[in-house]
Point group: C3
Amino acid sequence: MRRVLISLLAALAFSTLSISAFCSGPPVSDATDDCLACHTEATPGIVADWKKSLHAAVTPSTGMEKKVVERRMSADTVPENLKNIVVGCAECHTMNPGKHKDTFDHNGYSVHVVVSPGDCATCHPVEVTEYDKNIMANAYGNLMSNPVYHDLADQINGIQTFADMKTTLVKEGDETFADSCLSCHGTVVSVKGMRKRETVMGEMEFPILSGWPNQGVGRINPDGTKGACTPCHTRHQFSSEMARKPSTCSTCHKGPDVPAYKVYSVSKHGNIYDSLSKNWNFTNVPWVAGRDFTAPTCAVCHISLLATEDGEVVVKRTHQMSDRLPWRLFGLVYAHPHPESPDTTIMKNAQGLPLPTELTGEPVSRFLIDEEEMVERRKEMEKVCSQCHSYEWVEGHFAKLENTIKTTNEMTLTATKVLLEAWKKGAAHGLDKNDSIFNEEIEKMWVRQWLFYANSTRFAAAMAGADYGVFANGRWFMAENIQMMKDWLEFKLKSE
Amino acid sequence: MRRVLISLLAALAFSTLSISAFCSGPPVSDATDDCLACHTEATPGIVADWKKSLHAAVTPSTGMEKKVVERRMSADTVPENLKNIVVGCAECHTMNPGKHKDTFDHNGYSVHVVVSPGDCATCHPVEVTEYDKNIMANAYGNLMSNPVYHDLADQINGIQTFADMKTTLVKEGDETFADSCLSCHGTVVSVKGMRKRETVMGEMEFPILSGWPNQGVGRINPDGTKGACTPCHTRHQFSSEMARKPSTCSTCHKGPDVPAYKVYSVSKHGNIYDSLSKNWNFTNVPWVAGRDFTAPTCAVCHISLLATEDGEVVVKRTHQMSDRLPWRLFGLVYAHPHPESPDTTIMKNAQGLPLPTELTGEPVSRFLIDEEEMVERRKEMEKVCSQCHSYEWVEGHFAKLENTIKTTNEMTLTATKVLLEAWKKGAAHGLDKNDSIFNEEIEKMWVRQWLFYANSTRFAAAMAGADYGVFANGRWFMAENIQMMKDWLEFKLKSE
Amino acid sequence: MRRVLISLLAALAFSTLSISAFCSGPPVSDATDDCLACHTEATPGIVADWKKSLHAAVTPSTGMEKKVVERRMSADTVPENLKNIVVGCAECHTMNPGKHKDTFDHNGYSVHVVVSPGDCATCHPVEVTEYDKNIMANAYGNLMSNPVYHDLADQINGIQTFADMKTTLVKEGDETFADSCLSCHGTVVSVKGMRKRETVMGEMEFPILSGWPNQGVGRINPDGTKGACTPCHTRHQFSSEMARKPSTCSTCHKGPDVPAYKVYSVSKHGNIYDSLSKNWNFTNVPWVAGRDFTAPTCAVCHISLLATEDGEVVVKRTHQMSDRLPWRLFGLVYAHPHPESPDTTIMKNAQGLPLPTELTGEPVSRFLIDEEEMVERRKEMEKVCSQCHSYEWVEGHFAKLENTIKTTNEMTLTATKVLLEAWKKGAAHGLDKNDSIFNEEIEKMWVRQWLFYANSTRFAAAMAGADYGVFANGRWFMAENIQMMKDWLEFKLKSE
């Protein structure tokens, strides 16, 4: 009965839709027609957004006809019933219904709320497989299952109380975690129950999800898959223009811990992008340096397929974002060669801490990529640089970066030595006292040293955005912070 | 005589003007013709700017012919003499001459410098009335007539001197105030006198204004009206495109006290705006989600009239910007339900302080909107969200926000307790000693806790820009600041 | 032999090049043809970039035919062999081969890597001469040859170690300096040697440069010239659009020491630029206020030739960027009238320090421009303002700025007095002890006062971006910092 009503409404709705888009345009499935019948009214914004997408304009068959180097899809075949219709609401939201715990009956359809990488893999399997080998896909577990990182998060998110000159920490709730770290790292999305509510279509029942909404890169989805495609390929336009523009990366990579976007903004590359990109082509596949863009965006260096004008591949597309990265600049606690496994919880240093380096900086090599792999990755990156720069330029650039990795690690070591002295003298309580290493002021200053200042300085070197290596959270702050730690320790020892 | 000269010059000037714009174009008044005759030479930039405006292209009559939902004017009628001419220099700068203390004789015209909301109300009365009920219209008085806020401003703007290990505060002058807080809050603009000077037209006399230039939202104008339209609808193009773009709001809402723009920038909404808005329509009235834009700007959520493609109103246009806001996130000292009156100086808490909450956080409910009104405002906002998001998504979003309001208020309370302890122990001097509560370092740290860190965290939750809830002035800083306050107190007690 | 090979390759390459661009287009020299033959393959990005440039589209002859006010070249004549060919690779990279220490044999050509202002002067002599009189051209020497500034840089860049509750400074290496201060100030680029390597063309030999890559404004080039044009006119498009857009200036002027770009961003001018500049013309010469742009960018106020629509010059183009600047807002240690000589190392104050003011703020007038010159420069700037603003508006604006210069200098003096007290009491070691004045925490706090906070406040006043005068590194921080210095001093005296 309801199904009939829907179809009637659909028919009505179509009478007001543009003929070119839906009658003489590419074929839309009946199921998607049914969705559109109501959702054109219920959520008009996303319907209009989707209509602007390639998904609404091209069928998988057409997508697969292109030359490999020009294809946006990595599947060589897709299920028969999907081949000759565009990718509409129903195609994604009713895919693999049995796997999704958030599947519910919606007007006779088994619909799920959270479209996952598992669903996207139908047409984009290579991207999903690569992404899965990515640290980003593991961002939830890497934070929550590593006791050191989890404690850092608790010390940031928890509620402190104060009495008798002492502070006490009350653990944060799930909602706080979801609103802070897990915004980017991803939540666990699960079904708490069902709830009925009135809609324009009468009473309907919907699943209530915990950890929702969330668009974190390492989200654990109701179908058990890890990660999310939408942080970069945002609903419902899924625009490659957006994924290729730096502001997309900035939603997670702008803060003082990982100021990649800010550094890019003050780099010459970012400056060229800001000044001239209105004339660039952000949709061509393959993407060609010089013709389509005259300076790299984040995607150019880290992800995109680049080719020459003749269609010869320069670097392949990769969704394992560390494929062109020898170093992990992001210091935990020190910058180090990239981890081998995207699951970083497996690492243990000599002290038994789940860290890629010792507290004094030595890398725990057995969990990290070796020299050979580092060389390989740097060579891959240099292919990108070489589109515009001479070999000598590129060598000089990376020599500066390696020096900066070394010197920032040294400045982190000095800060660590002040902290160890504070622990030794009892001015603060750390590992030896089985106390958090992140709760006291000198410990927080130590965290600033590597998480804010050394990281900023290294990103600045890597992407040539000098400000962030000097006065914008850079070397000025590393140098000052050591003096502040030393003074704090002096004052503390005196005040006890 | 001079008038004749002007007319001659006008005739001359016209010979060089584009025929299409001024001969066959919409009619310009004789008075405006006279203005243009000289000002095309004297201030060519603003003349050219105005020529690009709708004011220069459309007469009020034409504006009023449109369907209500498509109208940019809210007046149903305007004075006869204005109906069929475009809105030019003279129309605004000679409006209500008797009311303007800055009116002066200028080539035979009674011209005033500062066009005020009272003048704009001729064509836009609803907007002016709504704006007047806005906290922004009261931004001058709310700062200057509230002794607590005024003292905070003095402690920021005043000149400190140092001798005998003590600092003394010398009050700032008016120019300093005008250059800092009142840049956004608005100055009192008044006529100090008249001054003759040489111009290309010979010697002329002009009023000298104090508090000028200024474009603050709560400016007190020479005609006695409050507020200014130009901060958002900037001279002389008065472009709706500009008012609808987020950078316009950023001129006052970007600092660490109220980082709305920065939060938006790292939100997914801001990211979509940054990546794709070059294809949006910023001038359509009404504005339609999905068709005209695919993510909200500040104006979409807080101000604009939104409608469906069929012209059905989704939310009405409002210039009382809190109409869709249940909470005042901006903590003074704590986040609280929005004040009922835009004049916030009338509030008194139990201690007699002109604050919306007690120092320990309890809201002073009789000055604040009630639960019912809060629900109403949130429903209004949710109509905007629902253009693209499901009910469950929206509920989940606001649940996180309410949790964050609660927890950030708790972290402010903890900081307050450290401060109260410092006052109690005499380590700092506060209310009990009749001393400023903003002049000593621990007091300034306390201000940081709510004004910078708790505010940032709440804005981040409200607009889903996670960075500002964690490492960019967010929870990391709330947590660390409490440790710093505690340590300061320890060191201070020891050093006395 | 190799030359023949190159020519063959060139012929081959041309067969695939667009006919319109290179056959019927403006003539390319044979030498540049040879470059393109390989570099279209070797570095396709910069070749494509150059093809989009005016250099690739216009010959000097054509450029010199224009009316003076419309010319982009300042040379009245150029060498005969350059007149009727476009400005290609070889024209610049083989110019003045004898002067360049980085000249090397490259396929039979004497090519140099680093194109310098000396080369650009062939067509742009006035710009190069003006730029040479600029503080920016002297940015390397002014930093490195001034012992006070050099020590500040060392204290920022050096590696600190910690033992026995003391820190020790190990001087930074050249690579660190190149990655930090000298990124903007410019390095000394010199030839370390030659190195052979395999290329697609077989084994070739290239010079190895130290201090490379670098695009600092005061770079010392291998031909002995000072400065670089490419930081603003970036290779290889040399786009005036880019030079005229504010993000170009932001690569060096965004940090907390000199936040010009950030201030601009929150100013009304910056807001208009952000909202409406997509409709502006960034390539017209001369540039006309109102017609081409409706708010100034950095270039409008500080550099560009502005004219009326009739071609009458409003202000002349200048590459001596201080021509319209009476004050040097950038406090070293205090804001002061602009230095007379761009070589600021010649200054000596009464204490013998190479500074433009005494430590207590009095300007060392004999090295600074006099009152008359200050008036002259301000008048020049006011011509720009007057394109849109009345005389009274402009006067009011600059009155606020002068007040802010005065009050921020006073707040720096107060911070200096706390520092002097610390030195006097032995809580820190300064000039009297022959110790660095930048290494201890209270000294660093003192630097923050003028380098970050007073500077931000002054830039905010100069460009009407209020945030940076209050809560974004402005007056709030000046006021708080004095309290922090005082408390530090108290704690230090007590802890000894």
